[in-house]
């Protein structure tokens, strides 16, 4: 008995001393991701990636000798919860910077809180209004829809297709795409001759496509996330639609090809570079980051790294760069983030300025085509 008691005591002493050894100063970074709930397909890879990257940084000795402590909270995709948790991060955990949330709605909900507290936020959501107009403490890594639209229109202009039909899903993503498609058309000498929508749960889009088939359109642009565009692709094939069909970056994953099957062949869409990382020429400045991310993610989670994980990768790496250059106080991180120039990340090449907290250009997207159930880059 006496021995056992003694060993317990010893263990307790060791644990205490161990704890104090670990209490060396760390840099606390908060993360809000919707790991569960309707936006889990965003939040889960984002969380996984952030944890993975922070682990790697710590294993390599941290940033300027300080380890990073990542505090992740799950928002359920709920804006109210995001607001509570951001306050917890700021007031209780006293973090130096925050990455996330995953969705535009949640990001908009917490902007006031980080602005008031003066903590830099790097959102992983795509909504253009997060950084437009520019907020002092708010940055983002996901590409704006407007860049994807510009990519398609550029291609259409080059190939002299100037009458398009648009078919957009009636949710936030589709609406934002529809606005951009209509707003930018003129700049590229393109006219929208048919403007239709479908519901996110619709199971048959052949009426809309029949109408488009009868219109003067020379190309069809469909804007939505799975599964709607796969149904559109199947219906288009059934109706023998002759015009080239373009999809949005919302379906740039293997899942789409799997859902649409043969009907996906020949479809083109703008996409971030993750899915074609291995096809990029070695001269592409993002190639190194992309390959590192894709390989690491595969090794850690036995799954393909995707765009969403990439947003979190960019957020962590941007913070790392800023802390290396400046220091780990919130104000120093913010100032250094704004001075980021030509950072070749996953989502694109970031250059933040005091007028631009989204930081990406058109080169963030490549136009890809589905061939033999895989992606090829359209030159």
């Amino acid at each position: 008995m006496g021995h056992r008691l003694l060993s317990y005591l010893l263990a307790a002493v060791f644990m205490l001393s161990g704890a104090s050894a670990f209490a060396a100063p760390t840099i606390k970074i908060g993360a809000l991701f919707s790991v569960t709930g309707p936006a889990a397909f965003l939040g889960e890879p984002e969380r996984n990636t952030a944890v993975m990257v922070v682990d790697q940084i710590n294993k390599a000795g941290g940033i300027k000798g300080k380890k990073i402590e990542l505090i992740v909270y799950d928002t359920n995709g709920d804006a109210t919860k995001a607001k509570q948790l951001v306050n917890k991060l700021i007031k209780n955990d006293k973090v130096s910077a925050i990455i996330g949330p995953s969705t535009t709605g949640e990001s908009m909900a917490i902007i006031n809180d980080v602005e008031k507290a003066g903590v830099p936020l790097i959102s992983c959501a795509a909504g253009i209004k997060i950084t437009e107009p520019v907020k002092k403490w708010v940055f983002k890594t996901a590409q704006n829809d407007s860049l994807a639209v510009a990519r398609i229109y550029e291609y259409l202009q080059k190939n002299r297709l100037n009458k398009v039909a648009i078919l957009t899903v009636s949710d936030g993503f589709g609406q934002s795409g529809r606005e951009q498609l209509k707003a930018q058309a003129k700049k590229y000498g393109i006219s929208v001759v048919s403007d239709d929508t479908y519901g996110p749960k619709d199971t048959d889009m052949s009426p809309q496509l029949t109408k488009i088939r009868g219109s003067k359109a020379q190309a069809l642009i469909c804007w939505g996330t799975n599964p709607g565009p796969a149904v559109v692709a199947k219906n288009a094939r059934q109706l023998g639609l002759k015009m080239p069909v373009f999809m949005s970056h919302g379906v740039s994953s293997k899942k789409f090809i799997q859902l649409a099957g043969d009907a996906a062949e020949g479809l083109k869409l703008p996409s971030g570079k993750v899915i074609v990382a291995d096809l990029l020429p070695a001269s592409d400045p993002q190639k190194k980051s992309l390959m590192a991310f894709v390989n690491d993610y595969k090794k850690h989670y036995r799954a393909e790294g995707d765009h969403f994980g990439g947003h979190a990768w960019d957020a962590v790496m941007l913070l790392k760069g800023a802390i290396e250059r400046g220091g780990d106080t919130p104000a120093a991180i913010r100032d250094q983030l704004e001075k980021t120039r030509q950072f070749h990340g996953i989502g694109g090449t970031f250059t933040f300025t005091s007028q631009d907290h989204a930081g990406l250009g058109k080169d963030a997207f490549v136009l890809v085509e589905v061939k033999n159930k895989d992606w090829v880059i359209v030159k």
């Binding site: 479908y198 199971t203 009426p207 109408k211 059934q238 099957g261």
Partner: protein, 291 residues
Amino acid sequence: MEQILQYSLSGIATGAIYALIGIGFSIIYNATGIINFAQGEFVMLGGILTFFFLDILQFPLWGAIILAVTGATLCGLLFERLAIRPLAKATPINLVIVTIGGSILIRGLAMLIWGKDTHSVPSFSGDNPIAIGSATLLPQHLWIMGITLAVICLNKYFFYHTINGKAMRACAYNPRAAGLVGIDVKRMVLLSFVISSAMGSLAGIIIAPLTMTAYDVGVMLGLKGFCAAIIGGMSTGMSVVVGGLLLGVLESLGAGLISSGYKDAIAFIILLLILFIRPQGLFGKAETERV
């Protein structure tokens, strides 16, 4: 105007599905007097179980279909046994709420088992479109129309020429009198759940290659089937079929000719109009005893 043909053909194919689901609603309504709002979930189960047996357990397509119908029917049977029968003294409104609860439970379990992703199911016989005049159809559309027709004929035969079918009709007219002449009313209620879950799952299976399947596809399809049943006056015969086809065609025409934004609105405007103006259904005679 040549587009009208395409709109109509697309509408008929979708409408056939609505009809199958609608008849499922009617069968249970006639046997028990309740609207089974879990009907859409059996449609979902049909599609997702086919995916499960085909893609994950690697059964051949026909085996997967039979197993999926069996699985969904078993769920229907369990649902009646565990959720409906124990509440023998419940009022119809209680039972309706039980079915809503049941539908949420089934959907939740499907989400836990198969995840939130959409899954695709291959077509029964290829994807090469068939031209009919200026319009095109897929072989799968023919399957849908053919199977719907076959099921309706079987249904008719069952209800008018077999002893169990006649007994079920007797229960629909007057359960008390049916009980008095020796019909086991409880067994008929169970049978109605079995038949309608089998039909619902079949609808889910034949449409899955076109629309793909996920844990939450049952909600909208269920509601559309309910509209078809209301238009047809909750009968188990042709009027629900006509109701379903009418709904499908109007939806398709509305989306093509007026605006695609109103597609779902059309179904529900028709539903409301029928409930306001002709609650006995488009073709039914006003009955005084059935409120």
